[in-house]
Symmetry: C2
Subunit: 194 residues, 2 copies
Amino acid sequence: MTVSSISRRERKKAATRQAIADAALRLFLERGYDQVSIRDIADAADVSTTTVFKHFTGKEALVFDEDQDREAQLIAAVAQRTPGQSVLDALRRHVLDTWIPIETHPQRAEFTHLVDSTPELRAYAERMWTRHTKALAAAIADAFGADHDDLACAALARYVLEIPALARGRHDLQTAVETIFGILTHGWRPPITG
Amino acid sequence: MTVSSISRRERKKAATRQAIADAALRLFLERGYDQVSIRDIADAADVSTTTVFKHFTGKEALVFDEDQDREAQLIAAVAQRTPGQSVLDALRRHVLDTWIPIETHPQRAEFTHLVDSTPELRAYAERMWTRHTKALAAAIADAFGADHDDLACAALARYVLEIPALARGRHDLQTAVETIFGILTHGWRPPITG
DNA sequence: GCACAAAAGTGCAACGAGTCAACTAAGCTA
DNA sequence: TAGCTTAGTTGACTCGTTGCACTTTTGTGC
């Protein structure tokens, strides 16, 4: 009789992984990203440095532990949009509903500061989004029966995935997102001045 | 009496810099980026590794030796556009006139292949463009008397600077560029299928 | 012409990220 | 119990990158 469907081994593995991620985030927040070495993290989690790399692909990945199914969600947002809804609208909704809550989560403040104040992490965070460009482009193309490498679809995918990076730091995230989707929907218009 | 306006020192400095860059590019093309270490390059150029880093900020910078005044050209394209020409039009012209010739230069083929087949270099090349986002955004904002961090201007700057990355590899670069500028001008439209 | 400061270059040692191979130990399976 | 699998350890190693102390070259003021 097993307590859960996953084996003890799996649980222990997950535990050490979590211990490493926790130690890493704690140390990063305490001292700053550059002032913490992988060896520090390994010591704090009481594992060897090689074990750290068995669980995480690199130092930056330690910070973004839950990147997972973003891609699946993105594709689902397009493929399973409510009938009659345009692709652009579905993407707008998806960004508003999934990204903004994450970004404005109060506990997120110091984490956001850590990322913003470390160029290496900023770059990684942006690539985290844009890495899904190809998959999203294919999903959009599928929605219209177009070729998977259709240029317009690829451009839309990329431009949509840039939105978090563009909107980050604005006082009103919702308005910012809507503004950018306005550009993608109706074309760019000079800002109203005066 | 000096032979030219630049001192002998400057010339020697430029010479070693060039020797390093040449050795680097040659070795990279021969063996591939990852199979060449900085020490290899230093040996080939007959300098010490320390000297390499005195001339170049990092390994990737050895590949892109002439990044220089791209930013100045971009800003000039916006600020000194012919009267009556829209900003979008000026940027379209600038991309068509400066980027396409570089990209389609025949001698560029193996170089392009090197960059495309090395993820590290691909990422660096993209950042080379997007690094100028802030400056271009400010130039666009100036053109309309808007705030330097105006969101619409920042978005346009970013989207325009993404165009090289989006169009790269397409059979017809000119059409690709025009298509994407079409999106930015009139908004995104589903691709024509069938 | 000469002394002197700045700059260019060298050599060496070091640090941190990341990899590799050989090993130990724990959990799973039969 | 025996035996396979796999997480984790250990230690040495590569490579990019930096810092430091030192020598050589060059431009400048005297």
